[in-house]
Amino acid sequence: MRQTVSFYLNGVLQHVVPASPTQTVLQYLREQAGLVGTKEGCAEGDCGACTVTEAALDAHDNVSFRAINACIRFLPTLDGRAIWTVEGLSADGQALHPVQQAMVDHHGSQCGFCTPGFVMSLYTMYCNGKVRPVREEVLDHLSGNLCRCTGYRPIIDAALDMGNYPAPEGATMAQVQGWLKALRDAATEPLAITESAQRYWAPCSADQLADLFLAHPDATLLAGGTDVGLMVTKQLKVFPKVIYLGNVAELDVIRRDETSLYIGAAVLLNEGYEALVREYPEAHELWKRFASMPIRNSGTLVGNVANGSPIGDSAPLLIALQTRVVLRKGNARRELPLEDLYLDYRKQDREPGEFVEAIKVPLRDPALKVATYKLSKRFDQDISAVCSAYALRLENGQVASVRIAHGGMAATSKRATEAEAALVGKSFDESAVTAAMAALAADYQPLSDMRATSEYRLQTAQNLLYRFYLETTGAAATRV
């Protein structure tokens, strides 16, 4: 058994035995590695003060750089990867990287506490070749970094200007690729850690994963850890057994066959959504508003589905699109419509030892009209009060079929079967839509909480259906 986590930290190879399998990268950096430039602002992946840059190989052995939240990322998941912290950008603290110099020159820091996180988000962009980004790209890449002092304008200006500085010297892409390949080659057996009465496995194949989970059905499956991480840092939960999916290359696949788009359990949110948006461009805004860049760089699309949260933003759209889930237990597989996976609040039709191996999203029917809307207090990185999705097929002005699903309206993401019934077979007009809006009240009895009242949820679910009608028929501008 290999107990040592091997990774590059600011270009230097490290072999580390974690204090526990759920020790966070941030704890390691600040408390063990003595790198205190990376800050803790919230310990829940919402403020970005802990942002670091991760590099990993993709399926074609290309290096991709990703900004991630060190505060909710477990140290063992760095095995085989490389990360950079703010200390790694300027060896002497004098010769600054272009993103750092641009931040200084544009007065992009005030109290400076969020600054290392912003620098690392910008650095990641820079490493990925987005040296001269447009404003929209800047906002997207900095969607996970909060600043309370500046109001952001000077930071945006710095990002837009960073390409005008001389390119720095540093590790080349080929070098990084070499490190990562060498790490992979050196890892002759999967990582398996026993520490502080906790066990951690990082299987390398789907078969290993299936066998392990069958043998340890009480284990926690860990993909991006954007939810499990919080349970550790906020609820102080102890997980005796953790099985990590992130090293299973077979699950990190996106396949498009004649009927569906197959997205494996280890596909990151960003990559999963990119493929989904290629098929369904209507999901673009949802993608960009799904959490934040660093969360989408850690979390997986299947993880969001399998987590089964009633406020997960992917499920309503995927349900509307008739997505199926592929469940695996040992060597046995079965498929379910996604909506049938969810039985009740955090209860799923999933047996012990059974896991979601992939989702299958039907390919686009050109006649289908699709939309998905998200309502929350803030545009970026917020949890939905209501998230709705629609897939409508009209024939001769009549509703041939329609699927409507919502998040935030019930204990699970749930279809609006009454509203659907009110529409099917009717001509798609104001009176049918009005009847369907009224029917939503029979579909849902939403809760009141800090995000919205029950009244607002139901009212806007109704109004969003009306918006869908207006947009589908081109009747009025509806988006701020």
Binding site: V36, K39, G41, C42, A43, E44, D46, C47, E87, G93, L96, V99, Q100, Q101, V104, H107, S109, Q110, C111, G112, F113, C114, T115, L139, S143, N145, L146, R148, C149, G151, Y152, R153, P154, I155, I156, L236, L375, S376, K377, R378, F379, D380, Q381, A385, E430, T434, A438, D449, M450, A452, T453, L458, T460, N463, Y466, R467, A477, T478, R479, V480
Partner: protein, 779 residues
Amino acid sequence: MTQNKYQTVGTSVKHESAHLHVTGRAQYTDDIPEVQGTLHAAFGLSERAHARIVSMDLTAVRAAPGVVAVITLDDVPGEKYVGPVIADEPVFADGKVDYVGQPLFAVAATSHDLARRAARLAKVEYENLEPLLDIKSAADKQAYVLPPARISKGNVPETLAQGPHRHQGSFYCGGQEQFYLEGQVAYALPGENAEMQVFCSTQHPSEMQFIIAHALHQPAHTVKVQCRRMGGGFGGKESQSWPFAAVAALLAHHTGRPVKLRADRDDDFMMTGKRHDFRVEYDVAYDDDGLIKAIKFEQQLRCGYSADLSGAVADRQVFHTDNTYFLETFDILSLRVKTNTQSNTAFRGFGGPQGIMAIEYVIEDIARRLGKDPLDVRRRNFYGKTERNVTPYQMTVEDNVIHELVDQLEQTAEYRRRREDITRFNAQNQVLKKGLALVPVKFGISFTATHLNQAGALLHIYTDGSVLINHGGTEMGQGLNTKVAQVVAEELGIGIEHVRVSATDTSKVSNTSATAASSGTDLNGKAAQDAARKIKAVLVAYAADHYGCDTADVVFRSNQVHCGERVILPFAKFVQEAYNARVPLWSSGFYRTPKIHYDFKTLTGRPFYYFVYGAACAEVIIDTLTGENRLVRADVLYDAGRPINPAVDIGQIEGGFIQGMGWLTTEELWWNKDGRLMTHAPSTYKIPSISDCPEALNVAFFSNGNVENSVYQSKAVGEPPLPLALSVFFAIRDAVHAAGNQPGTLAPLDAPATAEQILRAVHAVAPRLKLPELATEHG
């Protein structure tokens, strides 16, 4: 622009720590290398809003792995109650709890993680008492932390009755969490002979020093508090850094070991106070032009469970209820309401934004009632220059530039043209509606507590020509140290690279005031200037004597000292010579703000040295189906006097504006029915993020000097930008009115104007968009 006659002052010098910020080398309290044996602390917090503690069993806490010490109120050797004005807060709960999140005990363990885990193992038995949870019912019960205050003039009932127009209204505005990115933290190191050194992220090192000394029952000279910098403060680290400073010191005292207390974000939210939320009820009479004839306000401010700084916050709300308007006949009643929630505290603006919001809401209502543009009603009520220029608290406004400033912004923001464009847009769009508002601000500068308006500095020139300045202010990102360094460099005629500002340290400059009330540069800049001028005077005398020139011919400029026309020495060489001639190269400096006085019993006097003026024009768009909204464009014109550092000031203006926008739009504090705050981390509490910054954000300085003798004629810039964001709120309300399109009808929009609030207000004034009655009607 007038030509800058200075070398360093007036230029956009980079923040003195910018290169440290971007490289991660700027050291915050939690980054200080830990001394061997350091323990880490965590609080155990109350789970009830109001209850008697029947029993508190800490056995499991003490037995938990890594735990070294657990302390409760019984373990406080000195004063068990603290408070910045009134000592009404127990260090730990004293037999009862007054809010969810109140500290019950603290634990020190060998790691941060172990301390947090242990703190959750307490078994506490409570007996519930009736809690006060909302402002209105608490106000109805006359539950106050401090007695009501009132100022009034004229026969208000009679004038109100005379009209010719009169109406009443009320609204609610929510509070705001400071959300400094760096949470509260302190690191206490016990030393020899009862000494205690405490590194603390605080805006008020001296107050922390005294609270620690009192809690430890030691004289103040045993305690040294230091703050290099904060990762943001915004008022939240003015008085309420005390639990962290004091308890770290108590545990260090108790264990004899260094103790770090870093609150995790949720504990920070649950324990500490926020901006005061408030209700306003008003009654106003006005003429056909919208000129206010009489106005009556009742302001109910939620103070939480203790007094903290609420008296001064409420006073400042009263002092800003006039904003830029002359009120002739008025009655302003301020209630300092007690509730079983966190003790609300300072937050950038300190009651000022709340006062300004009160009068602006009324002005907007008057305009709406009369069918006039609100800008015209605002103008009609502006303070005069030579008459109609006395505030409700009897201070004459001598530096009024609001007329010129608003005229200029009206032009540059193209207010009238855009008003027409928006009217047209609204007529053509069924679902989307736009709104526009231009809001002026007048903000009083000085601590209302007169004695706080003083500052000290300590300046050293070393014989190599390098300069070290220490002052009583603290750096929290606002660029205070940068500006103070600029002042010192300017005075000594040297480059700013030769000036270093040291960490704030109670053993260097004593009895400091909090860095607050926008006064950091005004006070500490002047104190540093005084220190520099004192040294310079001695050096000039030495040079005149030594080189036989007139003192008027000794000039410090460009890193050189000119002694008459012939002798020009590098600054370093000159000070080395002066040292050799036994001239002292260090000095203290001191400043106290002149002219101010204020009677806190009658709420009258001259509480402010001068006023800052500004105005903002905001355009928004709302979706009447969902309440979603977006700031399309904002134009700000701000009177910073002659800015010491324009870039730093722009940063304060923009940052304050966006922060104010957060207060009024997305930042919603939500307590459940048991009085537990449910929005206690960034996952649930939403401060503005990067997409909320509009692409069209135009900030300009209004060309103006300070009529008062401020440091280099600059004006304060910390707090006044924040209420400029009221333009966003009123633009939203304007858009809501457009949705209703019923002249004279007032939209009941409360703050924060979340999407839900906006939709509720839309429904109150507008029939639902052509939608027939739905099966379930709400609202």
